[in-house]
Homo-oligomer: 246 residues x 2
C-alpha cells in the first residue's frame, strides 16, 4: 500500500496541502486567543515586544509582523516609545467562519455553494440593470485573459475569482458584494479547484461569456438564468467529486 512515489500519493490520496504554519500566524492566533478569552481587555497594554519575543520563543521581526497585521485590522495600536494596546475586541468577523470548515471539507463546499448560488444569481440580475460600462469591462477582462491562457495554470483560480468578484461589485449593492467576496474567499480557502475535474473546469469557465453578454445586453432575466445554470453545472461537478471528505 506504500506508494512508489510522492506524486502518486498525491494523486491517490489527494492529501491536504498541510502548508506549514508560519510563525507570525501562530503568534496572531495566540494573541487573538488571549483577547477572546478575556485575558486581554480593551485598553490593556501588552508587555514589551522584547519580552514577548522571549516568552514565545520567536524573533522580534516575527512578532512585529504579527502586530502589524493586528494593527491593520484595528485590533491593536502601537505607540512609539510607549507600548502596544488592545484597541478593539471585535474580531475580524470574516475570518471567524473560516475555522469551522476543518471538519468536513466536502460538506463545507456544498454549504458555501448554496449561499454563493443565492447571492450571485441575484448579483447577476442586479448587475444587468446597474453595471456601469467600466464595471462591465472589469467583468470581461478576466474572461478574456482566461481564454488567452494556453495551458491550465494555477492563476486560473484567481481569474475565476476575479470574474465573480467583478459581477458582485457591478450589482450596485455594496453589502451584497461584500457578502459575496466573503463567500468567495471561503471557497478559495477550501481549494475548491481540486474538487472539480479538469474537463468540467474547462466547460465551466466557458460559461462565463454568456453571463457577461447577458449583463452587457442589460437583460436581468437572462443574466439570472445563465448564472443559475452556471451554478447548477458547478454543483454537478462537485457532486461527481467523491474525494476524501477532508
Amino acid at each position: 500500500m506504500v506508494p512508489e512515489t510522492p506524486e502518486k500519493a498525491d494523486a491517490v490520496l489527494s492529501f491536504s496541502p498541510v502548508k506549514a504554519i508560519l510563525r507570525h500566524q501562530s503568534i496572531i492566533e495566540q494573541i487573538m486567543g488571549l483577547i477572546e478569552s478575556g485575558a486581554l481587555q480593551v485598553g490593556d497594554k501588552f508587555p514589551p515586544e522584547r519580552m514577548l519575543a522571549d516568552r514565545w520563543q520567536v524573533s522580534r521581526p516575527v512578532l512585529r509582523e504579527a502586530f502589524r497585521v493586528l494593527q491593520s485590522q484595528g485590533i491593536v495600536e502601537s505607540r512609539h516609545g510607549d507600548g502596544r494596546y488592545v484597541r478593539s475586541v471585535r474580531a475580524l468577523d470574516a475570518n471567524d467562519l473560516r475555522r469551522r470548515h476543518l471538519i468536513d471539507r466536502r460538506e463545507s463546499l456544498l454549504q458555501i455553494w448554496e449561499v454563493r448560488a443565492l447571492l450571485e444569481v441575484q448579483a447577476a440580475r442586479l448587475a444587468a440593470v446597474n453595471a456601469s460600462e467600466e464595471q462591465i469591462r472589469a467583468i470581461e477582462r478576466p474572461i478574456i485573459l482566461m481564454g488567452e491562457m494556453a495551458a491550465p495554470d494555477s492563476r486560473e483560480t484567481d481569474l475565476n475569482m476575479e470574474i465573480h468578484t467583478a459581477v458582485a461589485l457591478a450589482s450596485g449593492n455594496d453589502y451584497l458584494a461584500q457578502m459575496i467576496l466573503m463567500a468567495l474567499e471561503e471557497y478559495r480557502a477550501l481549494d475548491f479547484k481540486e474538487a472539480v475535474p479538469i474537463e468540467e473546469w474547462k466547460g465551466l469557465q466557458e460559461e462565463h461569456w454568456p453571463i457577461a453578454k447577458a449583463i452587457r445586453s442589460r437583460s436581468a432575466e437572462r443574466a439570472g438564468a445563465v448564472m443559475t445554470q452556471h451554478f447548477e453545472d458547478l454543483k454537478r461537478a462537485l457532486d461527481k467529486w467523491s474525494g476524501s471528505t477532508n
Copy 2:
C-alpha cells in the same frame, strides 16, 4: 498669537496627530498604488523582496511587514522558494462595511434588507426540511414571549432577532446561518426599529407565527412563501419611512 502652552494650542486648533508615516505603511501604499493603477494585475509576480527592498530603500523586515498585511487581506500570496503573487485586486475588509453605513443609513438598510431576504427565505425553506424538534421549539419560544408582552418593550428587538436567528440555525446549513447572523448584526447596528412605524411593527411581528407553523408542518414551499411575504411587508414599511437619510 503664540499660544501660552502647548495644551492650549491643542485645545484651540485641535490639530491632527500627524504621526509620522511608518515605513511599512508607505510601502503598502506603493503596492496598492501599483495594483490600482493596473501596473500589477491579478496573477502577476512581484520582484524578489531583496530587489524591492533595494529599490525602495527599505530593509527586508519592513518590506515583509508590508507584505504580511497585504497577505492577511488576501491581496498577495507568498510562496516559499518561489515568490509573491497578486491574488486579488480588492481588499476584503469587514470594517469597510461598517464605515459605509455612516454615509447613508437608509440606503444601507435597503441593501441589507435585500441580502437578508435572499438568505432568510432560503433558510426558512431549508428549516422546514431539516429542523429538529428542538430547533423548532427554539423558533416558537421567542414568538410566544413576544405575544405575551403587554406593552411594547425594548426587548422586542432582541426577540425579533432571536426568531430570525433560530430559523437560520434550523436551516442545517451552518454557513448560511453564519451569513444571516452577520447580516442581522449589521441590521441591528443600524437601529432599524426606528425606521418602522409602530403600527407596522406590530403587524410584522404577528407574521412570525405562520412562518413557525409552516416549518413545523414541514412545508418548505409554504415556509418560503410566508417568509417572502414577511420581507415584502417589511420592505413596504421601510419604504414608507422617509426619515433623515442619516
